[in-house]
Symmetry: C2
């Protein structure tokens, strides 16, 4: 049986290597590749994905797992071996449920849909994209059917990003979040206060932004020589190995916030990856329990650390040196407020910390209606506009700034959006736990002493990789998912930035 474990590790290592190689090719495509390489790159990515999937869905792996399961079940639940068998079993089962042809068709159709989406967005015409969306949805319904029985056809989609999460459980959570956010946004509107974000707006030469942002990221407690930061159109982070994480950001000459907090967000992902136990390398345990958990770390470093008054006080001298014309006369308080301005707006990726969640709730509700068949795709733009009016009080002027703004549906990624909001909720809960455990966390952040926070996160979360399901990890960390910590965090910040007295009532 030891020999079987060795063979299991070898098979999983090969699958892991193929996945990591694919990640490098995808990173290169978005950051380095000459445009001429596009066609060949699509072939190369498809080949690596196919070889990886064949191995994951193979009879050999399934039999090996069958042979190992009884032994694994006698080992401690959180031992490497037991976890490996459990998680590999899950991955193998999922891979084997979906016929290869359906998988290939989903990929092909999404690839065509993405091209159509680019065109449709350019001309701001949903009707050009609608037939492609129709096909993506139809294929995803068939994909979901591979996992019958289920309570809701959205469950298998969600499961790809939040293992074992159920629609019935996520729906009331996001509804509670929405209900808590609306009065917060009302309070901002009714406060009559205008927060001035002009300190972050102006002319920030990109070369100097690049230098500053590089310095800020290097100042985070990331191990040396384990990351790099490059430029791309749609920023992301990807781990080629736990000690080789590629961060990307984009620079807006007119607004410093895009690159600065964007890069801190991606660095949060890198702090997660570099914190995973080295013993889990080249296994399916070498990842976060879910996208929501991964996002919790990017949000925590972007918002709880990066946009805090203390960290901004700590940053201010460097900001003033980098951009004396724009920032030498701005106080830390002014920059802090500018960084936390709340303003309902049209575009998710530009949204502030408070309204961002409503962009997510909107997408989640529309996805549910699509897969419930209670919303016809042709009515999607109208439904989008209605939700935007209701939740954020803004009018959607066109499809490009409405239903066509995100690539996710074009790429066939349904069930992905809610993980962004779940990440915010989890971040708040984790922050509260870390605050309780660490002596005066806020003061440490203000001194730029972030090592202890990283160590706490590593010890309690990062190092375990994917040994536990999201629900198990939440239970261990904070005793279960809760909306309240996030709402309290946002309320505190809004009160602070908008000078709402502690007495101003915010109905929830």
């Amino acid at each position: 049986v030891d020999g079987d474990f060795t063979e299991l590790r070898q098979r999983l290592a090969e699958i892991s290597d193929l996945g990591r190689a694919r990640a490098l090719l995808a990173w290169d495509e978005r950051t380095m590749m000459p445009r001429g390489g596009a066609e060949a790159r699509a072939d190369q990515l498809a080949t690596l994905a196919r070889l990886r999937h064949e191995r994951l869905a193979s009879d050999e792996l399934a039999s090996l797992l069958d042979a190992l399961r009884p032994r694994a079940e006698r080992l401690p639940y959180d031992s490497d071996e037991a976890s490996l068998v459990r998680v590999a079993q899950r991955d193998s089962d999922k891979a084997r449920r979906v016929p290869a042809e359906l998988r290939a068709e989903i990929t092909r159709t999404a690839s065509v849909a993405e091209h159509a989406w680019v065109e449709a967005r350019r001309s701001s015409d949903f009707s050009l994209f609608a037939p492609h969306l129709e096909r993506n949805v139809e294929l995803k319904r068939r994909y979901a059917e591979c996992f019958e029985p289920f309570d809701h056809p959205y469950d298998p989609l969600l499961d790809d990003f939040e293992p074992e999460a159920k629609t019935a459980a996520v729906r009331p959570v996001l509804e509670e979040l929405r209900r808590g956010l609306v009065p917060l946004i009302d309070a901002v509107r009714e406060s009559g206060h205008e927060v001035d974000d002009s300190p972050l707006r102006g002319s920030f030469p990109i070369a100097r932004q690049r230098e500053l942002v590089g310095e800020v990221i290097a100042g985070l407690p990331l191990p040396a020589d384990t990351w790099r930061l490059d430029e791309t159109v749609h920023p992301f982070a990807t781990a080629i190995a736990t000690d080789d994480v590629r961060l990307t950001t984009r620079y807006d000459e007119a607004y410093l916030g895009t690159a600065l907090w964007g890069a801190m967000h991606e660095a949060g992902h890198a702090l997660y990856e570099t914190g995973i136990d080295s013993g889990l390398r080249r296994t399916p345990l070498c990842r976060a329990p879910s996208l929501g958990f991964h996002e919790s770390q990017s949000r925590l470093w972007e918002n709880w650390v990066g946009r805090s008054r203390g960290f901004i006080e700590h940053l201010r001298p460097r900001l003033a040196t980098a951009f004396p014309d724009e920032l030498a006369n701005a106080t830390a308080e002014q920059i802090y407020r500018a960084a936390n301005r709340v303003e309902p707006s049209l575009i998710r990726v530009e949204a502030d910390e408070v309204t961002y969640n409503l962009h997510i709730v909107l997408r989640f509700e529309l996805e549910l209606q699509i897969f419930d068949r209670t919303l016809a795709l042709e009515d999607l733009p109208e439904a989008w506009s209605e939700h935007m009016r209701e939740y954020l009080g803004v009018d959607v002027p066109d499809d490009a700034r409405g239903v066509l703004q995100d690539v996710h549906w074009a790429a066939g990624s349904f069930g992905y959006f809610p993980t962004y909001a779940l990440g915010n909720l989890i971040a708040a809960q984790i922050w509260d736990s870390a605050s309780a455990a660490l002596d005066d966390l806020d003061a440490m952040v203000g001194r730029g002493e972030l090592g202890p926070l990283r160590e706490w996160l590593r010890e309690h979360l990062h190092r375990h990789g994917g040994k536990f399901t999201p629900a198990e990890m939440l239970e261990r960390l904070v005793g279960g998912l809760s909306v309240d910590p996030c709402l309290r965090h946002l309320e505190r910040r809004v009160r602070d930035v908008y000078d709402l007295g502690a007495s101003a009532q915010i109905v929830r």
Copy 2:
């Protein structure tokens, strides 16, 4: 049978994709990767190499080729299908000859040897490297034995880089080259002339070099959006696809020549790759017939174009603008002479165009003696010193600047070195053919009009990829290998740069 051809193409496309993905990972390792990624990268590279090799050596591919061969033999020799079957057969046969364990041991041993070599070179102590070299040689002997019968144990090694080349044929060619070069170098020494290379030496800020070199490469007839140029320690070029070639160079602040002609050298490789017929993509035909042929193109663009008087006249205004302090007062003639200074020296990669070939001949002869068992490895440093004294008249002060200077033997690459000299010979022959075919090539080069040269090379060489063996391609292009054109080229340049009258006799 058409279905069989389709299956063959699919199998070969997969093999090609794995190879190209591996090339990207290797490029990234040397140009982009954070150091922390090294261990994981070694695993990822090994997995891709193993999967590729398993496919190439598979029974399925061999049977498919057996089934297709009769049909392919009835097709025109240079048709895509016939060539594909022929070349894939060769690749498959070679892959199947070598047991997987031996292949793995060669890779492992070379990896250890490379680390030992780095240490040995640092402390300039051959004895630290000798046992590793011993093992590399022993494994390569066993590798060669997989290809018995052979005329010479060096033949199978050579064959990996120059398909179907034989030691018995290469030996007299390189001997003829050596015999031709010695009097040329004597003539330089006896001329009493000193060529001043100070125009290229001084202080050339690297940021400006980077800009200049980028401009020069962009001015070559490379298709747009098919290449990029990055920095590395040991420069190379690698094709991720025919339309995605990665060039690398290194910059020496004190000597402009390193980056300028180094990058032109790598661009020559890129001109080859981008010229291969698009119909050969994702097949084993999508490559040069041999390393010698590939090197012929890098040398042609580096030396025949790049170091020519005409091209340097064309470059001069840009050089003067980029480095006014260093070059505004240098004439094109001075720069031309500086770029073509002949000076026997210790280090191959820094050698001039004339003496370079003797560095190669030396290595080739030593490799032959090693595999002939006429030279014990412990005597290698002494033999190296003797050859250097005899061929170049220089004394080798230590192992680091002698036998330990190149990585090739540490990496287990025996049979590789001669391709550098063969490349020079082929370049000269091709240049003569192009000169005869194109109307006043020298004048075109002087005007920076390089498109017609590239088109001629593409038409007669590049587009065919690997359809022909090196011998067949030489036959088609120039009627067979000849040493004379290279010697005449070098003699002309030496006479020119060293003001040797046409009457000065250079015995050959």
